[in-house]
Symmetry: D2
Subunit: 307 residues, 4 copies
């Protein structure tokens, strides 16, 4: 029996255990289209250095990647304007919840990092850069398709519509950024782009494959440099789970980025790219079962970057 077989057995068992445990958390309420989802769902996919992708659970089911998209938007924005982006957004953990506007006032309109909502709005604004939303979104989708080597990735229009109709806090943030001169496109364009990128639907299998470039796996398409991948991983480690980032680093020991749709992309540099999904959230707003599964996978594989 090979190592890979062991891992497949572990993943199958993990799916079973998560269902037995049944401590699913609560799906995000504020996006109507996501609120009614059945929380008792789980999927995990692991893209390995040897090119294989192992999965268990509902790994063919599409879910809304939500804030996981911020990782790819960041990659595209850095590709367009490079380190200039850091004049508009910081690289520090925020110490507050994902949609807070407090620090934005203290820091005079420069969000703390690209993964809190305010910072992601700035990153999206940088990716948009004078274009129409559909053009920027087409580039982002194309980037994701290239990263996965799979063209079957789309925006879920119903989710985008549902989110747009209730995006009052993000609308506040975008106008607040504008009042500080840190928005370069019309607010409705940046916000529209943001909402649509959050509504991208993917399977864990697709997401795990999309993360291969960050893990530096041999078979990953060369879309970003190794240096940029390292730096994005660093940001995921310190800021990827909002005010639960320190806890995730402590428990899992790998960089990751979560979304309120219940997905988490986790990177084991040189070893694997992992996508996990379960729609119920813990009190930080990160997938409850996803976090638990990531921790167990980390213990099983010993993939922690911390030794």
């Amino acid at each position: 029996m090979t190592e890979t077989d062991d891992l497949q057995a572990f993943l199958n068992d993990l799916d079973r255990q998560m269902h037995i445990k049944g401590d699913w958390g609560t799906p995000a309420r504020y996006i109507p289209e996501l609120a009614d989802i059945d929380p008792a769902q789980f999927a995990i996919s692991v893209a390995l250095a040897d090119g294989r992708v192992l999965s268990s659970g509902s790994a063919q089911k599409r879910f809304s990647i939500q804030s996981v998209s911020k990782v790819f938007t960041l990659a595209v924005a850095l590709g367009r304007i490079g380190d200039q982006l850091w004049t508009r957004v910081g690289r520090e953990p925020s110490g507050t919840s994902f949609d807070s506007i407090v620090l934005l006032e203290r820091e005079q309109g420069r969000p703390r990092n690209p993964f809190i909502n305010a910072g992601a709005l700035v990153t999206t604004d940088a990716m948009l850069e004078g274009r129409m939303p559909q053009d920027a979104l087409a580039e982002l989708i194309q980037f994701l398709r290239a990263a996965c080597e799979d063209d079957d990735i789309h925006i879920d229009k119903d989710v985008a519509r549902s989110e747009a109709a209730t995006a009052h806090r993000n609308t506040a943030l975008v106008h607040y950024l504008l009042s500080h001169g840190n928005l370069h496109n019309a607010p409705e364009l940046t916000l529209g782009t943001y909402v649509h990128q959050c509504a991208i639907a993917m399977t864990t299998q697709q997401l795990a494959r999309a993360g291969r470039m960050l893990a530096g796996l041999p078979d990953a398409p060369r879309l970003i440099s190794a240096r940029r991948a390292r730096r994005i991983n660093a940001l995921m480690m310190t800021c990827g789970h909002y005010d639960g980032s320190g806890d995730f680093a402590y428990r899992v020991g790998l960089p990751g980025k979560s979304g309120v749709g219940g997905g988490i992309l986790i990177i084991a540099p040189g070893k694997a790219s992992i996508a996990v999904w379960s729609p119920g959230l813990n009190h930080y707003g990160n997938s409850q079962v996803g976090t638990e599964a990531a921790q167990r996978l980390g213990q099983f594989t010993g993939w922690s970057v911390f030794g």
Copy 2:
């Protein structure tokens, strides 16, 4: 020429370059005994997996490790009371400066992490645990000597006295913790222990050797479990440089803990334990040249945990 010879040459060159660049930053002002130090000093030591310790600069010069001591206090406190510690202190980056009392009010007396001052005071209080300061300090020093396998480690009494005389902010923090019931010893005992542990003087050579247990190097004395080492490394990554932690992770890609004495302990899991020292600080309160040197070393060696 071996790899080690290359690294030695790099370190020698690094020392030269840092002196040529001459952008030293400003030594900490608030501890009188440290304020008058000549900023134009540099030392680096790298303990490798093969047991060798390479150095350049003033690697035999003792400096005040200050907050770097918090790593070892944490290890000792966890050794005494284990995960119970986390009921008293969190594991999240703070988003504020090292001596802030603001978040402590918001979080009702539970400091955000063990590396900001408030959290380190709680950790020290847990290490003290009803004993007299000299007994707890003896244990800490003994732990450090065992970690270095070097008995020549001592507390600099002048620095401790100087610091004690001006520790008003820390005195405020310790009484504030007491008002929330999160201090178990008399304030002056916890504060006295804290001030003395910060005044421990070490060379970069000693500090690099002391960090071997965190890097999991083969020749490191077995003082803590691999799991605990990983978790301490995770905390160093997300919280080790105060409000510059995200930036250090982004630039260096390794967990580290800085002190206002200008020292930084940096861990490359499985590969090396690094100590760097230069007393001038950047605007985050971390060693300016030390951070720069760590970044260059990271680029040279490719030791980033992020790929």
Copy 3:
């Protein structure tokens, strides 16, 4: 020579002194239409219990009353929905600047008082109450005309347009309120009403006469009850000058409400209603010369409510 003659002489002298002193402050920059105004202007009008209105300076010149309008909007909103309003907005000084969004997050979308921007937006929203902006504005203008007994009060359309084009911070606030369910009309309607009410143009003579109902002067039209007038005065005292309210109470001893157009309405209960105008602002965002003139008038007349 009567007391009134003395006061007239004092006002004439005050106008002279303010011009000699020439310490005018800086006009508000963020409303383009107001930014270019000549700061070296001054007007004061005092409506007395005997029905006379004494003035000096440019008392016939119209200026943009801006936030002074919040007093009248509050009166109209209370007239429509009564004390219900206080479920949506508080009555406490804010301890922050006028356009802060920080406390709004801490207090979960219930602004601290009706005179900071967030609170005035809620009050405007309550005045609007399902109507179209022009209907609500017509009621407000009608209320002001009745209060002055002068039909020549209008909205300055250029100022309204200028303000609407740059109201990003207020747009952020209104969407933030919406995200907390504390906005009952469409954001653009509430914001549009708000911007237009701020753009009402009046002379100090008109404004002083409009304030007679708050001072309870015998000749004031009976538009609000004595009890409501007292309570509005109380709010002006504790919250009428943003983060300079305590200072104004200390120096002047009378309730007042300032606007960034440089106007201040000041109430000496039972004695006088005072309007002062000078477009340059101090660091709190209140009229610099207006505050100084109010203090001198208070010293001359002994009208302080504090003895």
Copy 4:
């Protein structure tokens, strides 16, 4: 029947009504000596311009004046160093609770006003001014005795001791002030003086008589100028009830200063000095029944300064 007889009848009835209503609030818990007090107690005294003092309830019972003392400490400190005091403490409402340390950090060690704890500690420090606590306290007690024309005013040593043993938050504040250079005496001396002044015990009759100088009543001893009295009244209006100051101004319309012992001193300039006491507190930390009684007295007498 005279007006005074009417007022006496009202006060008698008020005492009855408060006992019937029986909604007493909760005595302060954090000072052990005060925690066990029976909340079902009430006293009110009104010193009138004609020299009479009317009372009802337990007007002969001594209670701990606590923060009401801050008014008199302020008067003494201003008497010693005048307006210089305002370089060390502000005059603005704080927008936070009485013992908050948050704003102190934001404002770099200059408390917002002399009535929050941090500001009162600075005022006490200014009153102390290099003397021994007993000398400063003797001056304060002498000032109070002169103000009341009654020598039977003393410090309750048991309360002082009880408070000193649990003053951790105030100890934190005093060291925090020291760290910003805004403390001129040894921390334990300023804190000791503060704790003892808070432990002064008085009856409502004494306290009402002590306030006559602030109300400017004809028979008040001339201890402070009319101008200073006005200014202290202004501070009581905007800052006298912590984060409930706006509400007190709105409901009562008179300047007042509350203490956690359940006392409130209320000033009706030119008309009366009022002391009310009932030990149960509302959620702002001010006397629940005392506030209610003040509001009813205000309605009965029409003494509001706001018209």
